[in-house]
């Protein structure tokens, strides 16, 4: 049987239907003819939280003598607020060094409240045989303009996941995110207990000793334990940060472990943490970058070591053929050639550098292949910051907005 449906009389229903058209025409007709306003407050706010980049000026430089490091105090060039962030996040710094165009991630060591005054601080430690770090330490001077990214990364306190008490394992310049967290706790931005086990070689080497001890003395939620490997000192622990030391300072009940430091410390601490048998979700590690010695990894295709391949880089309509050393990441090859390419974490994790491998093959260290999407792996999309060429390659790279 045919479907019968009515609301009112046939005429009434038809009138309503026709009304759809006339209502629209009527609504449009009676609306004023004025310029379309494309500005929406929520979108403007969103840009404050997630800028494409931030133009900063170096306002001050603080030297840390024994620690071979400097803190650069950046101030937003136009005097506005810097993007608000979560203590523990990092920014990516854009550098033009000779003909190269590189980025480097640095944890923000200042507090979120300072960002609202336009201030972002990073601390750069010298790296032997390094590239960007020595460049910054030697060349950055007060008044220079520096382009940095918005805040990035997921190494921050998450109240719905992390225990109320965090034991931080810090080594060397790995103290920076924890300094930011400690500041944030003191100023009331964050609310958790933080015990920092901070490994340094000697007392003289301790970064931010004065600041850390000051925060600890003012704020009962923050505690700092200095762990010296090369020297015995009153009030400091001696040796390396191990399971026993963590147990000694751990609170009753559960706690989270946050770790940030050099590769050697990770490898050592990893085994120690296993002894503690805490649920994996209570252990968080800041990213480490990609190994400098890829050829030493057990599954690396040994026959590639030492070779140089051609890398054809396609960005939009532009194509450029450059050299790619087997033991350097493709991102490094691109940066060496001075080609602007998007990148943030440089650890294979964040996906900012995601590119299409059009042809050729690459080696990706398993420990840096945690950030790729399932279908990307299947369809040949790679993160160039963690991919080493093992043949000539053609790669399509997205455009970058940080310039």
């Amino acid at each position: 049987m045919a479907l019968e449906f009515k609301v009112r009389s046939l005429g009434g229903d038809l009138k309503r239907f026709v009304g759809l058209i006339t209502d629209r025409e009527h609504a449009i007709k009676k609306a004023p003819e004025k310029d379309v306003d494309p500005v929406f407050a929520i979108n403007e706010n969103a840009k404050l939280l997630h800028p494409d980049y931030q133009k900063m000026v170096i306002q001050d430089i603080i030297e840390h003598k024994g620690a071979d490091s400097k803190t650069f105090v950046f101030k937003k060039a136009d005097g506005s607020k810097a993007a608000y962030f979560r203590a523990g996040q990092y920014v990516s710094v854009l550098l033009k060094i000779g003909s190269s165009l590189v980025t480097r991630p640095y944890s923000i060591c200042s507090s979120p409240a300072e960002a609202l005054e336009g201030i972002v601080k990073i601390t750069v430690r010298n790296v032997k045989d390094g590239y960007a770090a020595p460049y910054m330490l030697e060349n950055f001077k007060v008044g220079d303009e520096v382009c940095i990214s918005g805040p990035e990364g997921t190494f921050y306190y998450e109240p719905l996941r992390d225990a109320g008490h965090v034991i931080a394992l810090a080594g060397g310049s790995g103290i920076t995110p924890f300094l930011s967290m400690a500041n944030a706790i003191r100023e009331g931005t964050e609310d958790f207990c933080l015990t920092i086990l901070f490994g340094s070689r000697t007392e003289e080497n301790i970064l931010f000793k004065k600041e850390l001890d000051e925060i600890a003395s003012q704020c009962s939620k923050v505690k700092v334990v200095h762990v010296l490997s090369d020297e015995k000192k009153d009030g400091c622990e001696t040796g390396f940060i191990n399971a026993d030391l963590i147990r000694k300072y751990a609170p009753e009940g559960g706690y989270s472990i946050f770790m940030c430091g050099p590769e050697a410390m990770y490898r050592f601490a990893q085994k120690e943490i296993e002894k503690l048998q805490i649920e994996p979700r209570f252990v968080r590690r800041e990213l480490l970058g990609v190994t400098k010695n890829v050829a030493s990894l057990p599954d690396y295709p040994a026959e590639c070591a030492g070779k140089t391949y051609t890398v054809k880089v396609v960005i939009g309509e532009q194509e450029q053929v450059i050299d790619g050393k087997a033991e350097e990441t493709i991102l490094t090859a691109i940066e060496r050639a001075g080609i602007p390419a998007p990148a943030r974490c440089r650890s294979g994790e964040c996906g900012w550098c995601r590119s299409k491998l059009v042809s050729g093959t690459v080696y990706i260290p398993a420990e840096n292949d945690t950030g790729r999407r399932y279908v990307d792996k299947e369809r040949g999309y790679i993160h160039p910051c963690a991919s080493f060429p093992t043949s000539d390659v053609v790669i399509e790279v997205p455009g970058s907005y940080m310039q």
Binding site: L3, F5, K6, V7, L10, D13, L14, K15, R16, F17, G19, L20, I21, D23, R24, A27, I28, A31, E33, V36, P38, F40, A41, I42, N43, N45, A46, K47, L49, H50, K81, Y84, L116, T154, E158, L160, T189, E279, P280, R281, I315, G316, E317, P342, E349, G351, W352, C353, R354, T370, G371, R372, R373, Y374, V375, R379, E396, V397, P398, G399
Partner: protein, 513 residues
């Protein structure tokens, strides 16, 4: 300057289908996307050992291989092959009936099963619910008919009288006219949040076009997040000779005289021989991306009539959990945790942070155990805000606290209403606010549903307007997406992209010849 036949700006659902529609018609297409991944809403992100789908709950119109829906047919036409999972239940909803009694119902997919289950919950509802489905089917067929190229009014009178007679009314009016018992109406009103307007404002045609497909064709989602769809569509576009540029943001549309001839981007300018399709909100396009003296009078007036009122602004939380769904006691793919089945009251309470106590919970592992690593599962929560008021002023210091507060509220709702406690299993958590969506999509207010599809601006008036001719628009530049003829949702956006690409093929090239 490199020339293409067409340029598509933005690789959201509509941009992707439009590109493919043009490419299968042998046109040289350039698709540009500001991000380094395609998809817009249809994407994914990775945290720890989990991959999350930020937006897709259910894709409407896929259907089974044997009984394909329009989306499956479209993808087959384009040569895009997706690994689908079927959501065998439509939804579970925990709420209160309008008579004050508690509601906890689970509705299955499939028309017959749905009607049977409704009869079980609401005895005596069978006849009216059966008629409800017949009416929705008539509407769906009729909508397809009037979206086509040739429309014969006699055909409409012969076949689609029920569509016409219900078409002018809102959903609540039609529900009453069908004689649906109040409790059945309460259960059926659950879907309103997928369309962003309450039942007293929501056009029944719009409601029917979605709900009928969900129930009769069941809902599907891709096995590996909606990123799978978006990547496979761009890959197919390349195979068909299309060009895809990522990290490419359109800044301005280029005109010669009054004709759009290309796009200026951060990677340079590109020329379009025939025209440009922009997967961008029309207020953004007309407000700042084209020469102001060219903006058509009618577009200005449409914008003024819409008065910047957007559909839902999403607030979501994504959880990677270190226990299985079974261990956590989650049995349903989707649970609507709703305060009241009175959509008008609920719409009101969703205006403000203080009163928004709504959430849709999804567990992606229910039909797809391998969605996350063994021993884990992924759960997401979604609510929406029906007003921008609480977000127009940004208090940075409160922002992350707000994220935590909302995520906690979602967890509390699930515990209180369904007895499921996630708090001991949280391994990863990410929260997205309207700011997040606004930033990522460029969509005004992060309103992923586009402008409110109220009566005068619903999908039927929009469709009829298109049928009457798009001559009023900018020459050789169409906007596509959620503000188009089919409104919000993945399937609507795919369809809109396809329809508008066909219009462009017919219109732009004719003008050229």
């Amino acid at each position: 300057m490199k020339e293409f036949d067409y340029i598509v700006v933005g690789s959201g659902c509509a941009g992707l289908s439009a590109s493919l529609e043009l490419a299968v018609n042998n046109r040289k297409v350039l698709l540009i996307e500001q991000h380094n991944i395609p998809g817009g809403c249809a994407t994914s992100f990775v945290r720890g050992r989990f991959e999350f789908d930020p937006s897709l709950h259910e894709l409407c119109g896929v259907g089974s291989a044997e009984d394909p829906g329009f989306v499956r047919k479209m993808f087959a036409k384009y040569g895009v092959d997706i690994e689908w999972c079927e959501a065998t239940d439509c939804f579970r909803v925990i709420s209160t009936y309008s008579d004050g009694e508690p509601m906890d119902v689970t509705m299955p997919s499939g028309k017959e099963a749905f009607i049977d289950k409704m009869e079980y919950y609401v005895p005596g509802s069978r006849a009216s619910v059966t008629k409800f489905f017949a009416l929705m089917q008539n509407i769906q067929d009729g909508l397809d008919y009037i979206s086509g190229d040739k429309i014969d009014p006699r055909e409409i009178i012969k076949k689609y009288v029920p569509m016409v007679r219900s078409g002018g009314y809102t959903t609540s009016v039609v529900f009453d006219a069908l004689g649906l018992p109040q409790r059945a109406q309460d259960i059926l009103s659950v879907y309103w949040t997928y369309l962003g307007v309450d039942m007293e404002k929501l056009s029944f045609l719009h409601y029917a076009s979605m709900v009928n497909t969900y129930v009769t064709k069941s809902a599907y989602y891709p096995a590996h997040t909606s990123h799978e769809i978006s990547v496979k569509m761009t890959e197919r576009l390349r195979q068909l000779g299309g060009t895809v540029m990522m990290g490419c943001r359109a800044e301005k549309f280029l005109f010669e005289g009054d004709k759009c001839v290309g796009v200026q981007t951060n990677l340079g300018a590109f020329r379009a021989k025939y025209g440009v399709l922009a997967n961008i909100n029309p207020d953004i396009v007309h407000g700042k991306m084209v020469p102001q003296h060219l903006v058509p009078r009618r577009e200005k007036k449409i914008a003024a009539a819409r008065d910047r009122k957007l559909g839902g602004r999403m607030f979501t939380a994504y959880f990677g959990l270190n226990k299985t769904a079974e261990e956590l006691g989650i049995k349903d793919y989707s649970i609507f945790l709703v305060g009241t089945s009175d959509s008008v009251k609920e719409y009101d309470s969703l205006k403000h942070i203080a009163t928004n106590n709504y959430a849709i919970m999804l567990c992606y592992n229910i039909h797809n155990e391998a969605f996350s690593p063994k021993g884990t599962c992924v759960v997401s929560f979604t609510t929406m805000f029906t007003s921008a008021e609480d977000f127009n002023e940004l208090d940075e210091k409160e922002y992350f606290k707000l994220k935590t507060k909302m995520a906690k509220r979602f967890m509390d709702l699930l515990r209180e209403k369904a007895g499921i406690d996630l708090s001991d299993a949280v391994e990863e958590i990410t929260v997205a606010s309207p700011y997040t969506f606004a930033r990522y999509l460029n969509a005004p207010e992060g309103g992923v549903y586009g402008f409110e599809t109220t009566q005068w601006d619903g999908i039927i008036p929009r469709t009829i307007e298109m049928t009457m001719g798009l001559d009023y628009k900018l020459k050789h530049l169409y906007t596509i997406g959620t503000n188009g003829v089919r409104g919000d949702g993945y399937s609507s956006a795919y369809t809109d992209g396809q329809i508008l690409a066909d219009r462009a093929l017919a219109q732009f090239e004719k003008e050229d010849a």
